[in-house]
Symmetry: D2
Subunit: 398 residues, 4 copies
Amino acid sequence: MSASNPVPLKVGLVGGSSGFISKAHQHAIFMDGTRRVVAGALSSDPVKAKRSASEWPYPIKGYDSYDAMLQDELAKPKVERLDYVLILTPNHAHFDPAKRFLEAGIPVFCEKPLTLTVEESVELRERVESRAIPFCVAHTYLGHWTTRLARFIVRSGLLGKVRWVDASYIQSWMAIRSRDPKFKDTVWRIDPSKSGLSNCGGDIGTHALMQMRYITGLEVEALSAHLESLVPLGGPEEDQLDDHFTVYCRLNTGARALVRASQIAIGHKNDLRIEVNGERGSLRWAQEESEVLVVNLIDQPERVYVRGGVRANDGFFSDLPEELMSETVIPWGHSEGFHDAFARLHRCFEDDVRAYQAGAYNGSDGSQYATVRDGEIGMRFVEKAVESNRNGNAWTAL
Amino acid sequence: MSASNPVPLKVGLVGGSSGFISKAHQHAIFMDGTRRVVAGALSSDPVKAKRSASEWPYPIKGYDSYDAMLQDELAKPKVERLDYVLILTPNHAHFDPAKRFLEAGIPVFCEKPLTLTVEESVELRERVESRAIPFCVAHTYLGHWTTRLARFIVRSGLLGKVRWVDASYIQSWMAIRSRDPKFKDTVWRIDPSKSGLSNCGGDIGTHALMQMRYITGLEVEALSAHLESLVPLGGPEEDQLDDHFTVYCRLNTGARALVRASQIAIGHKNDLRIEVNGERGSLRWAQEESEVLVVNLIDQPERVYVRGGVRANDGFFSDLPEELMSETVIPWGHSEGFHDAFARLHRCFEDDVRAYQAGAYNGSDGSQYATVRDGEIGMRFVEKAVESNRNGNAWTAL
Amino acid sequence: MSASNPVPLKVGLVGGSSGFISKAHQHAIFMDGTRRVVAGALSSDPVKAKRSASEWPYPIKGYDSYDAMLQDELAKPKVERLDYVLILTPNHAHFDPAKRFLEAGIPVFCEKPLTLTVEESVELRERVESRAIPFCVAHTYLGHWTTRLARFIVRSGLLGKVRWVDASYIQSWMAIRSRDPKFKDTVWRIDPSKSGLSNCGGDIGTHALMQMRYITGLEVEALSAHLESLVPLGGPEEDQLDDHFTVYCRLNTGARALVRASQIAIGHKNDLRIEVNGERGSLRWAQEESEVLVVNLIDQPERVYVRGGVRANDGFFSDLPEELMSETVIPWGHSEGFHDAFARLHRCFEDDVRAYQAGAYNGSDGSQYATVRDGEIGMRFVEKAVESNRNGNAWTAL
Amino acid sequence: MSASNPVPLKVGLVGGSSGFISKAHQHAIFMDGTRRVVAGALSSDPVKAKRSASEWPYPIKGYDSYDAMLQDELAKPKVERLDYVLILTPNHAHFDPAKRFLEAGIPVFCEKPLTLTVEESVELRERVESRAIPFCVAHTYLGHWTTRLARFIVRSGLLGKVRWVDASYIQSWMAIRSRDPKFKDTVWRIDPSKSGLSNCGGDIGTHALMQMRYITGLEVEALSAHLESLVPLGGPEEDQLDDHFTVYCRLNTGARALVRASQIAIGHKNDLRIEVNGERGSLRWAQEESEVLVVNLIDQPERVYVRGGVRANDGFFSDLPEELMSETVIPWGHSEGFHDAFARLHRCFEDDVRAYQAGAYNGSDGSQYATVRDGEIGMRFVEKAVESNRNGNAWTAL
């Protein structure tokens, strides 16, 4: 091997013995050849954790618990330790391992929503900020090149001042779950002790919020929320978490936003979309058609941008940063997909981890992936939405 | 001429000297050869009314005022009178001519929203119901064959009990109006004395409501509304009518609906759409793609129905009424458009007018076009939305 | 009636007792209020002709034959005669009535393909040209505003020199005809004595050719053709007309075109489309989505033009003729459809007929509708395609 | 590490120092964690080969030439050798390394078109078949789950006997290449000494052919081809390879197919698509929308299948093999892309390589990826197309 080839980063998993999201992360980690999953405390059940590791499709060191994994790491010389851990457990089991690995100086990549309570999120944020250690919340859809182009367009002022944003994330799984065994892995989502205050809002409403905040840079100042449980699950109605989530928002510039999510809409698959309306134009983006971005300006034909299809000389984007131009991995017309978006997040995180190890990391500005602060704001948004809903949909400040 | 060819109906216009909607109605009236516009009080300004009539592209008898037109009609033998009048004036000038022609026993086809106030709507409804005289409110989009198929599908129970409806009507003209002189004809829409309590809600929100009610048969029981004026027009903010309209609704079965409208969304042209979600499936319809209807059932691929493409033996629609099967005017793949939808309403109204003249009319069940009762409900919906908005978006019963 | 309102044109039908195309023409004729169908020799069967006229939905004078209709016209003073006739008979019965009415000085609007043989087409063209009398061949799709915008764009040079054109018209009716009684009216299409040398090529291949010629202004110089009969109809194979038609063309500038048609492709409804590729850009148009036109230029995002959505100040179309700008009948987002395209042809033809009657008609330049010369070229194209196919797909000059 | 975790396969690269396809393969190889690129003779230029290896983003052993790499492998014990090699060189440099590694018993994954001449393809095929050693030709688009579903549907007989296939692959790079430096890597494609007899046909026409053959199981019996060079490159016209490729085919059942490719169509990105028309229905697939498959049956609404959305109880696909049902990697609505399709090929190839090493490999049936026989047929197709074109587009047997 050439002496100069960089050594791949070593990644440890907390949780992840089952669930499609675990496989998606593994694909994203491995994809570049520069990161490898090498260890895992794959389940909170030690027996399952051990068995999963032994049946793993590639070499992995299995642990009974993340505690055991952490102790093992701490016993090693620094250079041999895991470069980062990825937390894939249900919502209620994010906080403790995140805190523990951060304390040990090991960067953390964590699934969302960040924690079970806002307080836990605040604690994690304070820890991350005080130590300047990389921390990523897995808001996958920020990894699409078109999301990044959308952010550039809105922030460049091309659309004028934003007036209205419509962000929504519509799925069907709650409507059809009783019929399909493949949804058994997600049953914990409707259990408040594991999922938190909200099912639909926390699970996918936070993605819609994150797309809105990432692209526009605007923040929710106050909200009026409607949470519904439209699919009866058999238990007492008042115990049931929401499956349909509609939040009317006042943003910090006076603009308005509608942030919606639903899990009961048959025919919708993973329908996350956003439309940003400004004084001079609008843009539309949809996750299921993430290769294109649609821009409308007053008195202009609709323009359909494709990933990789923006040119400096189109008289429109003359100041598109080179960084953004060079982002695309495969030529236009060859679709990037979910794994590619995920890989872009891990790729950016790798950059920060390597900088951190070299003593050159000063914290994230949130331009490449969702930060712990983004995770905390998501938690707060859901908490306030639940509060507004309980108070007759009253306006509630964030 | 053959003695047995039916004599075309004679139609009189109240208003209509300008505006695209006037031309659209005229095309729809003439299209079948069985109805003709023959008279008109084309403007509230007598000089303009006269001049317009003299410059009309086909033979028409012009009047200074609808009053003059009405007096002239009353002086004729019944068989020579106008068969119906079409009211095309701004909102505030619907009520009086409608009332007067109804009193004279002449059926009325009226633009929407029905009147300036709920009280006027009630008065018209009572008059129509007590006399059993045909009255149509011009909710054009009920005339699309796919709207009718959607109504059949939902009411047949195929989708199961309805859980959630998303109906919206999004346009851009308020965002771009200052730049384009062609919008001068619609300036009255933002003048409360001519438009009523609401601009956006009254003008297009009522269409979204009507699609929802027509297709599902459900009624709004209570609502919480947000009305915004996002495009500053220069005058005092509190005087400005809404240009963005969001209403969260509780329906009479407990289902929820979101009824939205906006006039500030650049890139949207005439984007009326509806999605109905039931326990077993959903359907989606959009005005700008009105040749198709999309149906999703649990465990089934998405089905895309086209106008004229429903067959009795598809194992799905075996009970599709022949009436609905035979509705389509041109074969699939040759688009029906706005004029065709409009013509279908006038065609159905012609049937009722001819039945009325033959003494065989017993009132409309609302299955073919929007009735005076539908018009009244639309007025009430807007009134309550305005009230809710003034009261901090409080839940307000209809 | 005002003295100055123009008198509606009087139109006579030759054929048209059944078939959707007859109704479509009638809608198009009536739509503006400035033209009326008043007479008809509705069938070649005198009994059916008479009965149809007596059952007609609006007042019409019925004749046993077009001969009787013509004699009746000639007996009237000129001003009372029919202003034009519309020929709706099967292909083999276009020539004689067209010739006869032209001889009588009455303009003719004729269905396509123009005649049964090229020779007949030549004779009609010579007659029309020598007398400077309006004659329209019913190539409906030229009536779409987006077809006209496409013509302007290509001829303006925006796309550079044309390299390649792909024009196709794909349907399914031959594949499904045996199952659906509604196709009985088109059985004559597969009968050579009524349809001519070609079924698929003549019926719909000519439309694809016409779109290509109208939009680009290019002419076919030579062709190599494949005609197939893919759906067995039971008779001797060699007697069967084509249901699948593929023609590779060399155009008069050296560009290439592929002109295709099929009637056997299940799922296609009325799928006429064209793509024009030039040195600097391309455009795509599809009949079933005729409200939009897609333009791609090198180094530019895809632009989606909508009917009514072209602005002078988009820095692209600064020289769009006012005539084209003002063409649209209804505002964007309200679809124009098949009837609107048809009406535009009859509207333009009305202009020419009124000019002809005023002595101000100098022949058509083909910019508004297909001329008799276009009809002749279509006939010749089909004839040569059949010849090429018989000769082993040999290159054949036009 | 658990003793039972399988050891990842070791992959060597021949070529691949530049070009997007090299990166795509690497992503696909790494994605599962079960395969790794560990060595490479990355360029035919030894200096570049060495430098590239030293700058590689992950550990790799670099060689000056594939010969050196092969000698090094042969010197190792069998278990330490490369498990397979991937050949990424220009067309003319596929044959020799493929032959050499096959001779050494090392499986080969090779880019397409397979070789420079048909004779070379035949030689490779004979070698592969006689030794029963895994060999894959990189027809990526077979790796899309929807391509596999399409194959199942057509072969299940659901559409009836196939009548007509339209397969095309349309790009724009030749039209815009002079303007964009990123195309410099593909200049060899228009050099006959490196590209072979055909540029457009060989490069992308073979993909269209492969989709057709894989999905339908039909073979081309004879063809009539038109090859054009529509973009002038400055040299003598007769030396220029094709950039536009149209082949009319007679298939072995009597069905017809049109196989097309173009590199000059501005606005097309990577537009590979196929439509299969049978007696009872049709299906449509497009690479750029590879998450859906559209099926039309007579008298049925259009059905849109999504990856992962086929259910056993839809009354339509009751016999869908479990293998196909379980193929999907991520849930519907999360797009699979180009890398996922590529990874599926390498995943299937890994299965065969592991079976081969275990002595359990009996050759490929072509159901999982394109075989050396498929590669040979593609070569022959292009050769005959060139021959037909030279002979005035004469029918030429395969």
